[in-house]
């Protein structure tokens, strides 16, 4: 087990490094203009520009830059109690991640700080919505499978079809209008006043789609299990349909669902592009698009690093979770397609 975890951790780190390196090098293909703020571009003389580029190490060959990037990734500083950096040896050590500074979007702010701040908001909304849709989706999916082809099943199926069919933009619009006009809910997210209340609509919008997803998969896995041979033996034992459902089917159907749980939880940090743009939530969702459109290269790098790390750790945790709940799965070093 320990050996497996170590091996997988190594593989994961390697994948993350690969992704980050690719993105980093892609960024270096961009014209150097983007390393200045818009103001600087106008004001700076050629010499000043050159000076700044040299200071930032941007005149080195790309691979050297990549090496420097990794060398400086972990920053160890001495800080005093007030958090100021000191050099006289009086402070205590502080280890932090150095992803550079945002050049344009959040001028001069460390990328880590920007991400940390936005991440919190996205996770807040994301986790609440995940909890809601998981509970609702699984319960409804179980009901659907239990009364397969009955009224509940048909209504549930109709719901999943409609949610998947109608463009999300339209659904969100309807929810926004309905929420605002009938329940007087704020149409936009607000970080200052009525924050909780202004989160309601984004959370509902996020949950609508994922609930349908959980319903669909829960139902499908349950029905798959119901067709298996061991269900026949369980019935032959004399168990009633309800007993078979709760003692045998439910847990087995949950196993494939559980694999994606860590992934889904971790990816809430990324927020939802559409929902957050729609309700002007200052979260992670639109941040990457914005950063790219403003050519804020360090920020882009930082965000890609975040997504890749979360994605890979999510898959990793999912696999470990699977081995804990499914005794058949033996831990092997081989990564496989999910």
């Amino acid at each position: 087990m320990v050996k497996y975890i170590l091996k997988r951790t190594g593989q994961s780190i390697l994948t993350i490094l690969l992704v980050v390196s690719i993105v980093f090098l892609l960024m270096r293909l961009m014209p150097s203009d983007y390393f200045f703020t818009e103001d600087e571009l106008i004001k700076f003389t050629e010499e000043q520009k050159e000076d700044k580029l040299r200071r930032l190490g941007l005149l080195d060959p790309p691979l050297v830059q990549l090496g420097n990037f990794y060398m400086n990734l972990i920053k160890v500083e001495q800080v005093n109690d007030a958090g100021k950096v000191v050099t006289d040896g009086t402070g205590h050590l502080r280890v932090s991640l150095n992803l550079g500074e945002s050049m344009r979007l959040e001028k001069g702010q460390p990328v880590t700080k920007v991400i940390a701040q936005k991440m919190g908001i996205s996770m807040n909304i994301g986790l609440i919505s995940l909890a809601i849709s998981l509970v609702l989706g699984v319960v409804l999916g179980v009901l659907q499978a239990n009364f397969k082809d009955g009224l509940i099943d048909q209504i549930g199926t109709a719901y999943t079809v409609i949610v998947n069919a109608v463009p999300h933009l339209v659904i969100y619009t309807v929810i926004m209008i309905a929420g605002a006009s009938w329940f007087k809910l704020p149409m936009r997210y607000s970080g200052r006043m009525n924050t909780e209340l202004s989160m309601v609509l984004p959370i509902i919008c996020l949950s609508v789609g994922s609930t349908a997803g959980y319903m669909l998969w829960t139902r499908r896995y349950m029905v798959d299990e119901l067709n298996k041979d061991y269900i026949r033996l369980a019935k032959l034992k004399g168990l009633s349909n309800t007993q078979v459902m709760f003692r045998h089917v439910l847990r087995n159907a949950f196993v494939p669902l559980a694999q994606y749980l860590p992934y889904s939880i971790l990816l809430t940090v990324g927020g939802s592009l559409l929902v957050e743009t729609f309700f002007s939530v200052p979260g992670m969702g639109p941040e990457l698009t914005k950063a790219i459109s403003r050519y804020d290269l360090n920020l882009v790098q930082g965000i890609v690093l975040l997504y890749a790390t979360m994605g890979i750790i999510g898959v990793f945790l999912g696999d470990i979770l699977m081995t804990l709940i499914d005794p058949r799965i033996k831990l092997t070093g081989k990564g496989d397609v999910r």
């Binding site: 994948t15 690969l18 992704v19 892609l26 961009m30 079809v161 409609i162 998947n164 069919a165 109608v166 463009p167 999300h168 933009l169 339209v170 619009t173 209008i177 990816l267 990324g270 592009l273 559409l274 743009t277 639109p286 990457l288 698009t289 790219i292 459109s293 050519y295 890609v304 997504y307 890749a308 994605g311 890979i312 898959v315 990564g335 496989d336 397609v337 999910r338």
Partner: protein
Amino acid sequence: MPNNDRQKTVQEMEAPVVNLTVDEKSIDTNPKKERPMGREYPHARRDMPEKQLFEFAEYHAQDAERTGYSNYSYWKSVWANFIKNKPAVIMTIVFLALFIFTFVASAIGKYDINMKPDPINRAYLPPSAEYWFGTDGIGRDYWAQVWYATRASILLAVLVSLGQIAVGVVIGLIWGYVRKLDRFFTELYNLIDNIPTIIYMTLIALMIGKSLLTMGIAMIAFGWLATARNVRNLVFMYRDREYNLASRCLGTKLSRILFRNIFPYLISVIILRMALAIPGTIAYETTLTYLGLMDITKPSLGMLLSSARAIFPRASYTLLFPAIIVSIITITFYLVGNAFSDACDPRNHV
């Protein structure tokens, strides 16, 4: 051969002995001839005298061989099952009518898609006898816009989906069948899949361009993953079935094994994937347009939807018309896809 002396005893045996070399005369070489499903024995009649009833009957080797004939055809059953699914059939007809109507609508509409804008006099006029679907923000006829957009979006969706499926199937087949490449494709898959596609799309849009062609290709380039994985898993399932081993024993080439032995089993999955990819592409196009990652000069449903959102409370019809059309398209393909995949499952061939 030393067994010759034993041949005699075979002839002498009195128990029923099978004669596996079929009697030439008993073979009917005309396979087209109508054959009754139930057996008929003209040599045994009901009005037979009792004595004759208890006499030995003539033996016909053919009758024994032919007993297990059922008139089952896989694709016929698939079709019959599909036809039974009324909602799917109705929606298919509605969709086809809709698509044909996009051509008719442009012809019968009063205004052209290239109509001159007039934002001052004609912005957001509600539907009327003159402007059947009203006008848009810069005073163009919305009817012409909507139907043009519908046609464009359907075509784009079909092309992109075809591209995704084609790439996915080819990669999936190779990925699944060629053991040595499994690791490579698995890693490639995980690498791409670990990062949300929207990131790639954003990068491409800003680095290469936002044109329809670029984004269409980008959608194909990152949309094949799910199909490829699905096909790969299926190929894994069929790869070591005995009939494929038999083909290898017979020296059949890889391309032929993939095409003749494995591909036919994938058709149902491919059609299902295709049916789901079309609405998926339309939805994706909407999202991309809304996020400003796609530059479209001519209207598409995505464009209409995202521009309608801003003005929705004032001119609800601008959202309503494209939304209804998108919903019809999507529901059609969902129903058709599911009906088809159900129909393809041999367990449902009841």
